[in-house]
């Protein structure tokens, strides 16, 4: 961490997360190290050791226990945080469902990383996509500034009584976790009133005993699950509201998604994460060449803003979806499946292609995006010979499935 000027620091993504945790005055942090998210726990340990963060640090023996401890602490009313990725997130998987069903506001940062085997420490979104039905709010970010801002917002959203759901802030492993950027940070005096302490609606309290984590038989189970699911859908409003308030107070916001040169675009690519920064550059260059292209960066993956997205995409002539995850044996990658349902439900019939790119940290270059846009151009004209599911930068004998 280097001070560039007042309230502007040089931070890595991991340091930005830790800095937000310190400013949020998190009560209980429970962590287990895993590359590339480890530096977050190291930094928080340092804050605690120096007395800069008055919180309990539980250095547990697994990610499974990290999230379990967060649930226990949040059930008492503490503000809690954990961080992980990849295998660690998968080990937590079972407990993710329980955190959301018990309606405890856990905030978790995920430095997205691929899943073994083969063992690989580099970025893709397979780890997060494996959690997409766990009823968590899932935020994806494009920059280090954004991960800091979203982390601050996350506590506010999760603890809102209309939400009371856990949140996962996804930031690309290495690309964001280890890259230093200038970050405009808020002062502690600005963060405190933005994240007020509220008495939770229920908590473990000897004076007012509750039973938490009860058995729900067929006569009640369905209602419990649907209520939590509905709360997730409805949280979109709160996410947007908090983002707008953040903008009003601090001058920055991100929206549910953001559009880049989409106004008159005929061909667009939708995607999430830092690679969309590269997509923006490709769009900028193609625009100079007179191509009517655009990019839509999805920031909030769950809840999925399908109604809003349908309106944005309906007038396109061709749509590509770039995703850093697979859904083996399925119709398409996870985000693509969501978008296909969105298009169908809104009777939007535009040619689409699913681009799988950047698995296990493989580079996604400006040239790769140029190729994707060219292919979409061919698709629009009915001249594409490639299958609907196409792999970017793959070495394969089957040339037609590779861009």
């Amino acid at each position: 961490m280097k001070v560039i000027q007042k309230n502007r620091l040089a931070l890595s993504g991991n340091e930005a997360v830790a800095y937000a945790v310190k400013q949020a005055k998190v009560d209980v942090t429970a962590v287990y190290p895993i590359t590339p998210s480890t530096a977050v726990s190291e930094k928080i340990s340092e804050y605690v050791a120096k007395g800069e963060l008055d919180g309990e640090l539980l250095l547990v023996e697994s990610e499974h226990s990290a999230l379990s401890a967060c649930i226990g602490a949040a059930a008492v009313g503490a503000r809690v945080f954990t961080v992980t990725c990849s295998q660690g997130l998968l080990l937590m998987h079972e407990i993710l469902y329980i955190a959301s069903a018990l309606r405890v506001p856990v905030v978790m940062a995920v430095a997205n990383r691929s899943i073994s085997a083969p063992l690989n420490i580099w970025c893709d979104h397979s780890d997060a996509m494996d959690q997409r039905d766990t009823n968590w709010i899932m935020i994806f970010v494009l920059s280090v500034q954004e991960v800091y801002d979203r982390m601050i917002q996350a506590f506010r959203i999760a603890e809102d009584f209309r939400v009371r759901l856990p949140i996962m802030v996804n930031y690309d492993g290495f690309t964001l976790s280890h890259t230093y950027s200038p970050v405009d940070v808020l002062s502690d005096e600005e963060v405190s009133p933005f994240l007020p302490r509220r008495e939770p609606p229920f908590k473990l309290d000897p004076k007012n005993p509750i039973t938490l984590g009860a058995v729900g038989n067929p006569d009640y189970y369905m209602e419990a699950k649907v209520q939590a699911s509905k709360a997730l859908t409805d949280s979109l409003l709160v996410i947007d509201e908090v983002d707008k308030e953040f903008e009003k107070k601090f001058g920055r916001s991100y929206g549910i998604y953001r559009k880049f040169m989409m106004e008159d675009a005929e061909i667009a690519i939708v995607g999430m994460g830092s690679a969309m920064g590269t997509a923006k550059e490709a769009v900028r260059r193609l625009r100079k060449e007179g191509k009517k292209v655009g990019a839509l960066i999805l920031n909030i993956y769950r809840p999925f803003a399908y109604e809003m997205l349908a309106k944005e995409l309906k007038d396109l002539k061709a749509l590509g979806v770039m995703e850093r995850a697979l859904s083996p044996g399925g119709v398409s990658s996870p985000l693509m499946s969501d978008l296909l349902s969105t298009l169908y439900l809104n009777s939007i019939n535009i040619p689409t292609m699913n681009f799988i790119a950047g698995l296990g940290g493989r580079d996604i270059t400006i040239d790769d995006f140029r190729k994707m846009f060219s292919e979409l151009e061919l698709l629009e004209k009915g001249k594409s010979k490639r299958p609907y599911l196409t792999y970017v930068g793959l070495r394969s004998e089957e040339r037609e499935m590779v861009l």
């Binding site: 539980l58 023996e61 697994s62 649930i71 226990g72 059930a75 008492v76 503490a78 407990i95 039973t211």
Partner: protein, 313 residues
Amino acid sequence: MSKFKLISTIKELPIEEGFSPGHGLCAGCTIPTIIRMVTKIAKGNIIVVSPTGCLEVSTSVYPTTAWKIPWIHVAFENAAAVASGVKSAFSVLKRKGMIVDDPFVVVIGGDGGTADIGIQAMSGMFERQDKVTYICYDNEAYMNTGIQRSGATPYGAWTTTTPFGVKSIGKAVLKKDLFSIAIAHKVKYAATVSIGYVNDMLKKLSKALINTPSFIHYLQPCPTGWRFDPALSVKIGKLAVQTGLWPLLEYENGKVKVTVSLTKRLPVTEYLKHQGRFKHLFKKYPQIIEELQSHADELAEEYGFSPLVSTPI
């Protein structure tokens, strides 16, 4: 904590209950007994964490609950981790002046959730010296799922996954030694307890609440899984101790001591004969009974019990 008093007889327990009747545990199950005792000793100033298991499914079927004190269940293998989180939250919130209470945090879980799937979380909690009391009610198999062997199932016992037959004597290996495992973590206090020795149990529960991290290993005679008359639970608990198979021990200040010594030690057959899970040993595998007797003899030597096996009264 200053008001806390060590309890050593039932008469000293407050009348207020932390646990209600009407739960769904089996007739003859003695899990409610230890829960009532520990919640009474804590005078309701307690948070109980339970892993998935008999206790959990029988006491918390929505919209009812048997718990009059705060209780949380998250999953099967993580009760100790949840308890660490609960305790740390109380510590920090009290320090920050946001709450006034700092209750006892107690895990009450079965042998599966403790000796097998939950041992990692428990080991972590002990190693961190988190201020939690862990009580394992050990009914020596996965009773909630219907009597499958666990790491705590004793040698020779029948379960649905260790049936006896020409190629099987029942469970072919010894029970995991949880008491020693806890001690190896340098917990502040550990003890074995039995439903047959209630005053001994009360004293140990009192100590376990205030000397944390602590571990209580409770042999929980299970009429359903062990195949005996539900009226005999307390007797079976006593016989386990009197045959030397379940020594009543205490670990304190770095030393293990025997809290109930045996001057008259009964043969192990006195304990085994009441239980259907050992029936096949009497018919087909007398050598296993001899091995179990040798095991009890070894324990007797270790803990200084009567070397002689007395004739049953």
